[in-house]
């Protein structure tokens, strides 16, 4: 099967900050590939390099065989990009926006008009196509934002955190769109920091942290990395520094991470470990205010690989 995207040794530095520090991955044609990681992991920087917004400091990437460094225009012609922020001309109508961007992607005449009609139908805005975008709701604007990326029937669609800050109904709509596009043969590169999205959509996932890909593969394979470890999330009613120190020594606890009040532990067998945790807390006069136990998932994997929780 043809590779849609091949990323080789991509690097991007800003002064002392290594935003992307040598990243390699491959996306096969026809799959949905997610880049999962917290804010600041380097996901958007990789997208910006692939789409030609920034030049990489090192490395290269091929989009259906075209180098982003040597053949940027050919590479771009094969991509459709849905940026994280809505990028539309608010004083133009939805139709005018689509026509303009379609022209920039090389569509002309009847072909352009036909595609615009089809996209308007797809995003459900046919009846309001002549209205200025400034009059649209946020969800409607997002739909136009996505529609622009699909006009020229790209082989690869790149969506950079498209569901940030939107209501659940719109989010569901977007996720359904992604699945539908993929079912029609489009390759999708999707970045997110929501584990559930990555789990639901992706054929394969690359987990990123601090500019590197720490693991990649199918969901089932990634989860296997943490074995049968459970993820325990709890909160203490007071400062628990001494408690945490003691818990680190408990057999079966492999990782502890604290984010404010929330404490996350990776444990081999929650049934065996929990009583010990409670005992130590009691000895230290600390009270466990809440507790939740999760079976291994991508969050668990992230915690296992990086020692940190996958935070919003």
């Amino acid at each position: 099967m043809e590779n849609a995207v091949e990323v080789k040794g991509l690097k991007k530095f800003y002064k002392d900050v290594k935003a992307v520090n040598g990243v390699d991955f491959t996306i096969q044609s026809g799959e949905i590939f997610s880049l999962l990681g917290p804010n600041g992991a380097g996901k958007t920087t990789i997208i910006n390099m692939l789409t030609g917004l920034f030049p990489p400091n090192a490395g290269d990437a091929l989009i259906f065989g075209h180098s982003i460094q040597k053949e940027p225009l050919k590479a771009k012609a094969l991509m459709g990009v849905v940026p994280q922020e809505i990028a539309l001309y608010e004083d133009l109508s939805a139709r005018e926006n689509l026509v303009f961007w379609g022209k920039l992607y090389g569509l002309r005449g009847k072909q352009l008009q036909t595609r615009v009609d089809e996209v308007l139908e797809l995003i459900g805005l046919r009846d309001r196509q002549r209205q200025r975008v400034s009059k649209y709701s946020g969800g409607m604007k997002r739909r136009v934002n996505i529609g622009i990326a699909l006009l020229h029937l790209p082989k690869l669609v790149i969506m950079d955190e498209p569901t940030v800050g939107i209501d659940p109904q719109s989010r569901r709509h977007i996720l359904d769109n992604v699945l539908q596009l993929n079912s029609q043969g489009m390759t999708v590169l999707y970045t997110t920091h929501y584990m559930e999205e990555a789990q639901e959509l992706s054929t394969r996932i690359a987990i990123m942290d601090q500019g590197k890909v720490v693991a990649s593969g199918r969901h089932a394979d990634l989860v296997k990395l943490v074995g049968e470890q459970d993820r325990v999330e709890l909160t203490l009613s007071q400062d628990g520094e001494k408690v945490l120190k003691a818990w680190k020594k408990v057999l079966g606890v492999s990782k502890i991470d604290q984010d404010g009040e929330k404490i996350t532990l990776l444990v081999s067998d929650s049934n065996a470990v929990l009583p010990e945790l409670f005992k130590i807390a009691h000895q230290q006069n600390a009270r466990i205010a809440s507790i939740a136990i999760h079976e291994p998932n991508l969050e668990t994997v992230f915690l296992h690989l990086t020692g940190k929780a996958l935070r919003d």
Binding site: K76, V81, P83, L88, D91, L92, F100, L104, Y105, G106
Partner: protein, 419 residues
């Protein structure tokens, strides 16, 4: 090439739909032009100014049996020829007249002194017609000085004529009879009537090329030059305001979206630059057509006029793009649009184009602004200067525009490439 025009056309469309753009590029200059037109009578037609209200004080105390020449002065001011210009009010005293000036009922007062008739009809002596004017007014005093001086000169020359005639007669052994004096008075009257309103027929005025200048309406000239000043100011303002879209698009993300499309950066920039140019073309064309129709401004020979239009559009667009290329974001444009444009417009002479005798150093300072060069070029066109002079300024402006474009392009290319 197509993508360049696609981007330019989109920018023009957005500009035309923007109330701000319409306001600043068309409504503001036209509003001002209507204002000037209303102020100065519509251009090309009667440009009568407001009537000057004058208080007349006749303090003349002629010798017994002699005519009151102060009343003659009053009659002259009250004559049909000056009725459209002056409204005359007879007042009893200088104090009353001054009070009227202080209360702005009068622009000035003319005072005939007590010894007026005595000096004019007697032997020797001098006297003064006093004009006391409102110091806050500029035009009325000048007009009044001119009229009063003419009247004073008429009396003076008449007196000289009488005394010289009598002296000559006596030199030849004759006696000045009553008939002689009557004859002299008749000659004085005939002379005044023949000379009134006649500009010197003994002087022909030609330009330094030896050609006769067409008679031009002075007020029309003033309106033309004011219109040119405003058109240049708003063209440069529009050039900068339209260029601001580069920064706005960068902030809104639509510029980045263009960059990720299969459109070379140079085409994107070219499209934006072309958008600025086309917007300016639309603005200037509308302004020129309307000003010709409404104010009857004669723009001169077509070839010269087109050169001036091209130079203005290129310079305004280039300058605007240059300025925007130095800004980080659109929040700084207020200072550019309001401050830099106003300052360079001021230094370039756009607000003082009708003032004569400017200090030399201001003329030099003007050359540091593209607006100053544009104003000089348009003034040459309006005055019918030759192609040689016009082409020189046209070339200078075009060179400026090219340099501005090159620097702006360099800065924007670097800005978008360095991330």
């Amino acid at each position: 090439m197509r993508k360049i025009f696609t981007i330019a056309w989109k920018d023009l469309l957005r500009s035309i739909r923007s109330l701000y753009f319409i306001g600043i590029s068309l409504i503001a200059p036209l509003l001002l032009s209507f204002l000037f037109s209303a102020a100065f009578g519509g251009g090309g037609e009667s440009t009568a100014i407001s009537n000057i209200a004058i208080a007349f004080v006749n303090q003349d105390a002629p010798p017994q049996g002699s005519p009151n020449l102060g009343e003659t002065v009053y009659e002259i001011f009250h004559s049909a020829g000056l009725k459209d210009l002056i409204t005359l009010h007879e007042v009893a005293s200088e104090e009353e007249a001054l009070q009227g000036i202080n209360e702005q009922d009068f622009s000035a007062t003319v005072i005939v002194p007590a010894d007026f008739s005595q000096v004019v009809s007697g032997q020797g002596g001098t006297t003064r017609l006093r004009v006391i004017y409102d110091p806050a007014e500029n035009i009325a005093p000048q007009i009044l000085e001119s009229i009063t001086a003419t009247i004073a000169n008429e009396f003076s020359s008449s007196k000289i004529m009488v005394s010289l005639a009598v002296e000559e007669l006596q030199r030849r052994g004759g006696q000045a009879s009553e008939q002689f004096y009557t004859d002299l008075v008749a000659r004085i009257t005939a002379r005044s009537e023949s000379q009134s309103g006649v500009t010197s027929p003994l002087l022909t005025v030609l330009n330094p090329q030896g050609q006769r200048e067409e008679a031009r309406d002075e007020m029309q000239q003033i309106i033309s030059i004011i219109m040119v000043g405003m058109m240049i100011f708003f063209a440069f303002y529009t050039g900068a305001a339209t260029s601001e879209s580069l920064l706005q698009e960068e902030e809104k993300g639509t510029l980045a979206r263009k960059f990720v499309s299969p459109t070379p950066v140079r085409d994107i920039l070219a499209g934006k630059f072309l958008g600025v140019l086309i917007t300016l073309v639309v603005q200037i064309c509308v302004l020129l057509v309307l000003s010709s129709l409404v104010f009857h401004i004669q723009w001169g020979e077509a070839g010269k006029f087109i050169l001036a239009v091209i130079a203005l559009i290129a310079a305004a667009a280039g300058f605007g793009l240059l300025l925007m290329s130095f800004l980080n974001d659109s929040r700084q444009t207020g200072i550019i649009l309001g401050g830099v444009m106003t300052i360079t417009g001021m230094v370039g002479g756009l607000f003082t184009s009708t003032i004569q005798n400017m200090p030399d150093f201001l003329g030099i300072l003007k050359k540091f602004t593209p607006q100053g060069w544009a104003l000089d070029l348009w003034q040459l066109v309006l005055n019918g200067a030759g192609y040689a002079e016009i082409l020189f300024l046209f070339s200078v402006l075009l060179c400026m525009a090219v340099v501005f474009f090159i620097i702006a392009n360099f800065r924007f290319q670097r800005r978008f490439a360095k991330k």
